[in-house]
Subunit: 359 residues, 2 copies
Amino acid sequence: MRKFNFCAGPAALPEPVLRQAQEELLDWGGRGCSVMEVSHRSPEFTEVAETAEQDLRDLLQVPDNYKVLFLQGGATAQFSAVPWNLFGAGSQVADYIYTGQWAKKAIAEAQRYGRVNIVASSEDRNFTYAPGPDSWRQTGDAAYFHYTPNETIGGVEFDYVPEVSCPLVADMSSNILSQPVPVEKFGVIYAGAQKNIGPSGIAVVIVRDDLLDRAREDIPRSLSWNVAADAGSMDNTPATFAWYLSGLVFKWLKAQGGVGAMEALSARKSSMLYDFIDNSDFYSSPVEPGSRSRMNVPFVLADDRLDGAFLQQSEEAGLLNLKGHRSVGGMRASLYNAVPVEAVQALVDFMADFERRMG
Amino acid sequence: MRKFNFCAGPAALPEPVLRQAQEELLDWGGRGCSVMEVSHRSPEFTEVAETAEQDLRDLLQVPDNYKVLFLQGGATAQFSAVPWNLFGAGSQVADYIYTGQWAKKAIAEAQRYGRVNIVASSEDRNFTYAPGPDSWRQTGDAAYFHYTPNETIGGVEFDYVPEVSCPLVADMSSNILSQPVPVEKFGVIYAGAQKNIGPSGIAVVIVRDDLLDRAREDIPRSLSWNVAADAGSMDNTPATFAWYLSGLVFKWLKAQGGVGAMEALSARKSSMLYDFIDNSDFYSSPVEPGSRSRMNVPFVLADDRLDGAFLQQSEEAGLLNLKGHRSVGGMRASLYNAVPVEAVQALVDFMADFERRMG
């Protein structure tokens, strides 16, 4: 029996997607083999790949002057790819907003290949807010401006898109496809799949055409967006099963009503949980109200000696993976697209019951 | 119904492995979620990862002073990783044997970061043989010696391990786990999974400990074997489903009798096909007898105007993916571990029948 899964990633996938994958795992569309067992260059897989790309383009309304790439290595490989692809034609300084653990990793890698200007940081209040534009100190000649629209660990989300004068780069791993996005305002959007797209092992990169000729000459081939774009993301054998499964998720998203529907659903789910927490003296959210993530909801118990009991009893109640990240402790409920309203209702019900019994 | 699948890669997987993955795809071991939906750092996935590594160590008898890594990006990312990891401490020249398309790609990437000495080449006879050691011109101070034990496209395989005085590096993508290998003679063995290990999207790297401190200082984090080794291949979120499935293949291999049994099976399967071809005037093998691959058997028809009919009729007979690589034409039957003897028998029967009717 399937349980409610609040894992921060690799995260829950839509059940209908898993059911279809299961049904055709040994015999895909009557071909006598699995989708995992055909050449990535075969007509049948090419159709999978192209359909997935088109569906993603439809969902996010990606303009024609952007390439959509399906690459290996997750967002972490892109932490390297961003400076390698954008520091090769002029400026080797970049603006970064420092909002938590993921921004930190992106910054650390960029610093190895150029100069990083920290535009703003929320370290002063333990990464519990998204610093507003009035506090930013931008560089005049930045090659690009990088930010993390949603910090999975801290549970902090930007509720607006920064307005900047150089190419805007976003690690959208944990909130992509949860709302409409004005892609035309971005130079590069990248996202590891394992939160809102598909299984781990594949990453999506959406890059504006004019940024494909700015790579350092000595860029490793596997990091080059230009090489990947020229090869239709098949310069090497792609992660075919992960690509196929991502495509099924895109079809499912379309059937649900697309990213507009996901935006409404995310608002509903996260409000349910935040409202409950705010009305309680037993639970609290460490994140400032204007910056609270719709995707990842960290919360703490007034008495952390009850953490163990909370985790054990919630798991027994069929609510999986509520433990907070090891670097911050407490609890975290991740409410990605595949997590249904019923899961959040069950969580709130459990939390109320736990408070009644233990509070 | 499952058909016989001779795809060169992503290739056939063992049917019992796919059946187990299918059964537990939505509810893995009664946990109420898929193996794709749990954190890579959870105790349950850690066990999957560690068991897979130990089983691979057992199968190949990997000595304790070697790390076993499970990385993303396939062999192609390793074409970059090899020079980046080994050109940082002294010599920036490497010996490469040039035996075909895959060696060519490895060489091209290494040439971007150092000097490549072509030890020997089989280009003179269209890559139809493995050049013997008597023809080699090695460098005295090479950082490493690279070769491709099996060329998937040309169908050429080395039937011995080179004896060299510097670290031996092998792209074993297409014949790993098909025979016992003296790992202690190698510095680095790497292999994309999608032929003899698992689905595409994961690569295995087996590297001797003393080679982990030779990387260029500016190596991109995602290419560093040292970073991966320190993090247990989890510096970024690994391709968890591909890792899990690879682990199931290792268990299946052990149950079949390990790599010794695979060596016997490979000899039997490939001999059946080569003997049939050699006894025919209708079919022929372009590869010299001492260098013929047990994994990939290219063959041509005496009259290539029959190629289309051969491919159409073989597919109708339930024999999939026999078309040769686009760069060489003709046919190719890949006989990896998951391809059963019955498949080869069915292929030979079909070929005999086709010859009778069309010859």
